[in-house]
Subunit: 256 residues, 2 copies
């Protein structure tokens, strides 16, 4: 049984304010929990993670004794009713893990020799997580979020990443400043009237700007673009979802 104060604390992590205050975040569900526990014990993991606490149903804990071995001190058993109280999911799924937020140094050399996504005010946490999942798929190691992006530690973001948050580094930075610091790299972004993505010379080391769901790329960032591209349309739709556009653009860059 958790104390009322503990339940209140865990509940508070649904809001960004308290995640920032406590410098942590929550990941939920059987599948992602197993991935987290394996990752924490994997010497070849992309980066190290720090688990603060594990809240699991009695059966779940029993069924995962091996994986849980190193974490005995931070496991708490909860019942269904308590899990429901602390969960962000409509249907809580057996286990909830609290992790420390990451504090990465900017991997300058890696950015100079890779693709990097620059998210210019992606608003929807689900889209942000889906974009991290796309980065993971295409082996894009770093995602830079503008300071007005959705929170990368939002529970909806974490769920949508499907584990990508264990492999893709996210940063929250001023994007125009970032571009100035990497001025040797070409900067691609999709804008109306841009050059056909599939006919553009794509560079394997580059910055790719993804614009806001409604407004597209901001005027400040438009100025940073060295290559204005467009996903060719055959229909009458006005726009593509931001995550869909990201998927298509990343696929084109990886098909070099």
């Amino acid at each position: 049984m958790l104390s009322k104060a503990k339940v209140k604390y865990l509940n508070s992590l649904k809001s960004k304010k308290f995640r920032q205050k406590y410098n942590n975040f929550v990941a939920e569900g059987d599948k992602i929990a197993i991935e987290i526990l394996k990752n924490a014990q994997n010497p070849n993991a992309a980066f190290s993670i720090e688990i603060e606490a594990i809240y699991g149903l009695s059966d779940w804990i029993k069924n995962h004794q091996d994986l849980l071995q190193p974490f005995q001190a931070i496991i708490a058993e909860v019942d269904n009713a308590t899990l429901k109280k602390i969960s962000s999911l409509q249907t809580p799924n057996q286990v909830l893990i609290v992790l420390k937020q990451f504090d990465f140094d900017l991997p300058t050399a890696q950015i100079q020799t890779n693709l990097t996504l620059l998210l210019d005010e992606i608003q929807d946490p689900g889209n942000l997580g889906t974009i991290m999942r796309i980065a993971d798929w295409f082996g894009i190691p770093n995602v830079i979020c503008s300071t007005n992006c959705a929170d990368a530690y939002n529970p909806k973001t974490i769920q949508a990443t499907m584990g990508a948050f264990l492999r893709v580094r996210t940063f929250r930075l001023n994007l125009t400043e970032f571009c100035r610091n990497f001025s040797a790299l070409p900067v691609y972004g999709a804008v109306l009237g841009g050059e056909n993505l599939f006919q553009t010379k794509l560079n394997k080391n580059a910055l790719i700007v993804i614009g806001n769901e409604g407004k597209g790329i901001s005027p400040d960032m438009i100025q940073q673009l060295t290559h204005r591209i467009e996903i060719p349309a055959n229909g009458q739709a006005e726009s593509l979802n931001a995550a869909i556009a990201t998927g298509i653009i990343c696929a084109a860059f990886r098909n070099l």
Copy 2:
């Protein structure tokens, strides 16, 4: 003011059962409402739509008199509190329109000379709508949903289409039977170990199968595939979101 019975009726349309009973569905918000009203008066629209009723805030109605001219008989003014009661949106947005469900004949000749998406148990209404939006973008005129797909008339689907439901025809059919009826067309589907999408010969007239979010393409439909493809990965992610995969595959087909 709407009667209690009318509010109850409109509320019932949030459930598939009642949408089927009344053979209609709901679209909401300023932007899509304007698109619907323009579409209803456009002789070149992809297909005709039938508006059953329009529920708008007083200001909204006042500001769109021109567009609303032909629909005077079916407009009802509602206040904010009533709109909130009948809306599926967290933040109701000025207007809600009830439309008749579509009853299309299968455009056999068009299917034989186009790309067609076959959705094999897409579960999430938002994904379904996003996929329709992708079809719209790439000018794919028909989307065939398996009988166990999410409902194409779910309010979340309609919102996610961003108007694509006005241009893309959806059908709800048995997919294996559908494939047998179009046996002259190649059938593509993404499976683990398939041929690199970007190195596969793609046909401009084809059926493209999109699998379920968790389970992928069903065993029955795997048997229908004539071309097993794969989106090449560079990272360690296990899978891509179904709508993201659809976007990448459709872009590859359109880049012929």
